[in-house]
């Protein structure tokens, strides 16, 4: 066993030495890596070049996560480790130097093979991503997008952000359930839930609105209720102190 390891290590170092000596990175890039663009990749970047970065890091054992095209924490630590081991400045950013070193170190990289579906897929746009410490899950955000779409799809964008904002405000508020699902499915809370419109497939605008609200934008001004004055059935809702009207909705506390 030990013999095999040392053999492998020797082989690897030979390979690396060979690679650093002989490989011409520019021609190599042209040949196999049409996606490794010249942009600088940092934590938070997404795209097909991040997939390649992950694929290359995976090939030499620095990265063990999923190849998803999202520069998250795991990719970040992998890059830093790589930079440390290869004597580069450890900053977690993939600029010209790191990229060159990485390309040289991974001559065998084949974008069509590594990471299963990574290279060849025609769909380069990765899933939206938030690196957050919040207690929400990706499915909470999906549910939110459904609710926002069902409740306010005819409204201006800012009104949709405000509707998402109201749900987030309820999460912090003492009078409402403590989870996104609890708030959305509270009986009688949302008409879209009652009439099933929440199960329509949300569009990009609704998803964007949810994301903006998640990032802290709250055009509702801290509202915890809103209603459409034309269709509101509850008299009590009119007694709430109002904040503003956006589109057809009046937002209030």
């Amino acid at each position: 066993m030990r013999v095999r390891w040392s053999l492998m290590a020797a082989g690897l170092s030979l390979l690396m030495a060979f690679a650093t000596l002989h490989a011409n990175p520019t021609t190599f890039e042209k040949h196999a890596a049409p996606t490794f663009t010249s942009r600088i990749l940092v934590k938070g970047s997404t795209g097909i070049d991040v997939r390649e970065l992950q694929g290359r890091l995976q090939l030499i054992g620095f990265y063990k996560g999923k190849i998803d095209g999202i520069f998250g924490w795991r990719t970040y630590w992998a890059v830093r480790n790589f930079q440390y081991k290869f004597g580069l400045r450890v900053d977690g950013k993939v600029g010209v130097k790191t990229r060159e070193k990485l390309v040289r170190a991974t001559r065998n990289y084949n974008p069509w093979k590594s990471g299963g579906t990574s290279g060849g897929k025609a769909n380069p746009t990765p899933a939206p991503v938030v690196h957050s410490s919040s207690r929400l899950s990706a499915n909470d955000l999906k549910l939110l997008a459904n609710a926002v779409y069902g409740e306010s799809r005819g409204e201006p964008y800012i009104g949709q952000v405000a509707v998402a904002g109201v749900i987030f405000n309820r999460l912090e508020h003492s009078q409402f359930p403590n989870s996104i699902s609890g708030i959305i499915f509270q009986p009688g809370a949302f008409t879209a839930v009652a009439d099933g419109q929440i199960w329509l497939t949300p569009n990009e605008t609704a998803k964007k609105a949810v994301r903006d609200a998640l990032n802290g934008w709250d055009p509702s001004g801290g509202a915890i209720y809103y209603f459409n004055p034309e269709t509101a059935t509850s008299k009590w809702i009119w007694s709430r102190p109002q904040i503003k009207k956006i589109g057809k909705h009046i937002f209030c506390r």
Binding site: R39, S45, F176, N215, W217, T233, R253
Partner: protein, 440 residues
């Protein structure tokens, strides 16, 4: 002959329709019953949890040792959480029931705060014991009301579906025992005095925007329009509509809409006091990205400098489609000031700022006198779990659960495949906060 056939067809059709109708009716009844049973379950759960809550509060009053108090209060917290969830499953959002809900949450928050603190360092004070006692008495009243209502529901076969119907028809005056019972309860709770607790008050005020930290004189509508034009770099105030927000807003503020000639629209929020822009959204289509996240960050930083934000450092960056979202935080003497954050959205097609959120910065930022940390990094590091591999460390000022600003060492570490942020109090080594960084 034809007549006969027609008659037979008609009779068959009638029978079929009748059968179909009966089946539909039965299915509808079954569904209604299912919905009714869900409500019934939540209601009976609520009642039994309420008496459990009351029992646990009673026990907390009775116990004498700290060792017993902590589990008792943790139980109160847990049960109050469940009662809130029970309430959330009943169709009560159509009627005023907020005081009762708040009361339940307050019981939970109060007992949680007392339960988690170090009882040896800070035992239950006399006032807190009195607070517990009044909570006990008040929850007893609620419990009794609930049980009386529960008895009525069981004896008279009252249905929650009827209650829901009565609640949704507000134009007609309808009588419903269940609704009346809950309304009476809400009225009673509204009469209870507020829970007196410093910790609870601290938790509550933490949530409120600190408008008192904002300086300046009130801006009029015209001034608000001028300030908006200046903020956006416009020559004059054409296309700017300013509207004052209503009473419900936590602090006086304007809502501003800007209609640009090229059909673009900006939306802004502005405080009346001082006339500061709190947030901005420009909802435009962003084209193919022409710059990377680093170039976007530079554009964002230029924008911040131009708008008078100094000494900020990047906390995190995210790319979403062709937009970069950057969160900056103030930095003072190499300490990251977490309460003072600014979030920017930069369109990566031409580098313009399409979103700005400076509310937290506005309400928190001030020149602080930072204390010197008592502990060195090495000493602080010893307080971090040995299972965590520490990768990065900084000094950071954070706001703890009670809204107090504390100087901490921030350790970013990994354990297996997950990344954590751990905050160790720089003065006494307390673990102030631990966050798991998720990718969602």
């Amino acid at each position: 002959m034809i007549k006969r056939i027609l008659t037979i067809v008609a009779v068959v059709a009638l029978v079929v329709t009748g059968f179909w109708g009966y089946r539909e009716h039965r299915q509808k009844q079954a569904l209604l019953l299912k919905a009714e049973n869900q409500y019934q379950r939540a209601f009976h759960d609520l009642s039994s949890n309420m008496s459990l809550l009351q029992d646990e509060l009673g026990k907390a009053l009775a116990v004498n040792t700290q060792r017993q108090l902590t589990p008792c209060l943790s139980n109160v917290w847990r049960v109050s959480y469940t009662t809130q969830s029970d309430v959330g499953q009943l169709p009560l959002s159509l009627m005023p029931f907020n005081r009762t809900q708040e009361f339940l949450r307050d019981i939970g928050e109060f007992s949680y705060r007392v339960a988690i603190r170090d009882q040896k360092k800070e035992p239950l004070s006399n006032e807190e014991w009195k607070t517990l006692q009044s909570l006990y008495n008040e929850s007893k009243e609620i419990e009794q009301d609930l049980q009386a209502l529960q008895a009525d529901v069981l004896d008279q076969n009252l249905r929650w579906m009827d209650a829901e119907l009565a609640l949704s028809q507000t134009r007609k005056k309808t009588d419903n025992q269940i609704v009346d019972g809950f309304k009476a309860m809400e009225k009673k709770v509204s009469g209870f005095p507020e829970i007196q607790s410093d910790t609870l008050n601290a938790v509550k005020t933490r949530m409120k925007p600190h408008i008192n930290n904002v300086s300046g004189t009130d801006a009029s509508v015209e001034e608000a329009a001028k300030k908006t034009a200046a903020f956006l770099g416009k020559a004059d105030t054409t296309g700017i509509t300013v509207q004052k927000n209503g009473q419900g807003m936590p602090y006086p503020a304007y809502s501003i809409t800007v209609q640009e000639p090229d059909n673009q629209k900006y939306y802004l929020g502005m405080t009346v006091k001082g006339g500061y822009v709190t947030w901005l959204v420009n909802d435009r289509e962003v084209k193919e990205a022409a710059m990377d996240m680093v170039a976007g960050q530079e554009k964002g930083e230029q924008w911040l400098t131009a708008h008078g934000y100094k000494d900020l450092s990047l906390l995190k960056a995210e790319q979403y489609d062709n937009t970069g979202i950057y969160t900056f935080s103030a930095k003072q003497d190499d300490v990251i000031i977490y309460p003072d954050t600014v979030t920017l959205k930069v369109a990566l097609d031409n580098g313009t700022v399409t979103g700005f959120n400076g509310q937290d910065y506005l309400f928190h930022h001030k020149k602080r006198t930072l204390q010197k940390p008592e502990l060195t990094v090495k000493q602080a590091r010893k307080y971090v779990s040995p299972h965590t591999q520490i990768q990065e460390q900084n000094l950071a000022l954070i706001e703890n659960d009670l809204g107090k600003e504390v100087l901490t060492y921030e350790f970013i570490g990994t354990m297996d495949d997950d990344t954590y942020k751990i905050y160790i109090n720089a003065q006494n080594g307390d673990e102030e906060k631990v966050e798991k960084l998720k990718q969602i």
